[in-house]
């Protein structure tokens, strides 16, 4: 199993505020890696840094063993890294179909196209001509994930996909996720909803105040240990 992604001692700052402290870990091919933790712990910053929206002040992000820190976000898409950002951020004035098409703008060739994405998220099919701004939260989330898939990524980054969604909708999203997990992508998921994410993850790390406070296989970690690491007790 080759290592797809490696972070080595990554420090990330927002101005004077340090969000990540010497974060290090490895992700193997095909793995689904979950990051949990309370708000402000640094999880979103982590994904943004891997995607290229944020630069580490020190340390390195290595993709297939090569450092990618010098590449800006739009170049990383072409390398096979796709981020579904926090808050979905679909393009409000574009239609659903246009949102999907633009997902492929800087991406790679592969199996994902409009048709296969709609197969994964059938709820999108009747919405193709609708403006993205008129979609519900769950529909937008499906669209955002589908849009990222259109670039045929190798490494898929999902930031808080269940945030603000009704339980029924979350269930459907995670049903689609299960299909994704099996399809050979390497996936990094950031979630506040610990329960759901542990069902799909091969490995989990808990973030607290910019550092990893606990990591391991979901089966090996007790819920007490997770709760303690989550809240820093």
């Amino acid at each position: 199993m080759s290592v797809v992604l490696e972070l080595k001692d990554v420090d990330v700052f927002y101005g004077d505020f340090q969000a990540l402290f010497k974060v290090s870990f490895e992700v193997e091919e095909g793995m689904t890696f979950a990051f949990i933790g309370a708000n402000g712990g640094g999880k979103s910053t982590l994904l943004r840094t891997i995607a290229g929206l944020q630069r580490p002040r020190s340390g390195h992000v290595l993709f297939h063993g090569e450092p990618v820190d010098q590449f800006s976000a739009h170049k990383r898409v072409g390398m096979g890294i796709a981020l579904v950002p926090e808050g979905r951020r679909v393009f409000p004035s574009l239609t659903v179909r246009e949102n999907l098409i633009i997902g492929a703008y800087g991406g790679r060739k592969g199996d994902w196209n409009v048709e296969s994405v709609v197969e994964l998220f059938p709820l999108l099919r009747p919405l193709m001509k609708r403006q993205a701004s008129s979609l519900s939260g769950g529909e937008q989330q499906a669209l955002a994930i589908g849009r990222a898939l259109m670039s045929n990524p190798e490494l898929l980054l999902l930031d808080e996909v269940s945030l603000g969604l009704a339980p029924v909708v979350i269930k459907r999203i995670y049903e689609a996720m299960v299909l994704l997990v099996g399809s050979g992508h390497t996936i990094l998921v950031v979630e506040q909803d610990v329960q759901h994410v542990l069902t799909v993850a091969d490995y989990v790390a808990c973030f607290l105040e910019g550092k990893i406070s606990l990591e391991g296989k979901p089966g090996d970690l007790s819920s007490e240990a997770i709760t303690a690491a989550y809240f820093g007790m």
Partner: protein, 290 residues
């Protein structure tokens, strides 16, 4: 029948204003930047065309094409090299830099060409009119300008709606960061938007230079009229800009007819202020907030 004539002239004048306005609106739409040197760049284009004609003896049409290409490149380099650096921190930097640019262009033009009025000669077409009725006739040239304005706006709309790059423009306008995540290079997109905007304003500047006289200080006025057309039309709507231009043009011509030359422009401004007071988001606002 005088009024009908005046109204139609105003409408056709509006086409020219809309051409000046379109580039301004495009740049604002894509990168939320207001280019205070926009009008001056249009006038610069007119001087470039003049220079090419005087130095190389090219006919007007060829000189115009070369000028448009030059201004396209100037726009790309200007944005990529200078203006991109001013974006993203706060509102003040782009304003100050583009205002500085305006001063630079105007004074550089005065130094090279003097402050005298100039004109571009398009030959007989400037003077032919088409007779509609016994009392009503329309100049060919203003009509051509109006048609060009419509064609340019239609082409731009088509580009934005259908072309892959146009879609990228719209995505960048919606959410700059999310667009980056799609593989869209913002710096490049911004530069292309400016390039297109300057190509369009070059067309406007050349047509202006044919239609009337021009001098280095005209840019400020062009900017103001373009701005008024954009605001009245509603930000985010290209066709709205055309309507805004028409309203402005007609206000000016009707005002001139009614109150005399000096007051015509005042009437135009007052109409603008009224629209701003009564319907601040414009006739066709797509985005309510700037």
């Amino acid at each position: 029948m005088i009024w009908a004539n005046v109204a139609i002239q105003g409408m056709l004048l509006g086409g020219l204003y809309a051409l000046f306005a379109t580039g301004l609106a495009l740049v604002f739409g894509v990168m939320r930047m207001v280019n205070l040197a926009h009008g001056d760049l249009g006038i610069l284009a007119a001087f470039v065309a003049l220079f090419i004609i005087q130095s190389f003896g090219l006919p007007l049409l060829w000189a115009s094409i070369v000028t448009i290409i030059i201004m396209f490149l100037v726009g790309y380099v200007l944005q990529r090299g200078l203006l991109n650096r001013t974006l993203g921190v706060d509102d003040t930097r782009p304003i100050v830099v583009t205002f500085g640019l305006s001063i630079i262009i105007q004074n550089a033009l005065i130094m090279k060409f003097s402050a005298d009025s100039q004109g571009l000669d398009a030959g007989k077409i400037e003077n032919i009119s088409v007779k509609i009725t016994n009392q009503l006739s329309i100049g060919w040239f203003p009509l051509i300008v109006f048609v060009i304005a419509i064609a340019v706006i239609a082409a731009l709309q088509f580009f934005l709606a259908r072309a892959k790059l146009g879609r990228a423009f719209r995505a960048t306008s919606d959410d700059r960061e999310a667009a980056e995540l799609m593989g869209i290079n913002n710096k490049h997109i911004y530069s292309l938007a400016m390039a297109i905007a300057l190509a369009i304003v070059a067309v406007a500047g050349i047509l202006l230079a044919i239609r009337t006289t021009f001098d280095p200080t005209q840019g400020s006025f062009r900017l103001i009229y373009a701005f008024e057309a954009v605001i009245m039309g509603g930000m985010g709507s290209m066709w709205g800009t055309l309507l805004g231009g028409i309203v402005l043009g007609m206000s000016q011509t009707i005002g001139t007819q009614a109150f005399g030359a000096g007051w015509g422009l005042v009437v135009g401004h007052l109409v603008f202020l009224t629209v701003l007071a009564v319907r601040p988001s414009g006739f066709f606002a797509k985005t309510v907030t700037a």
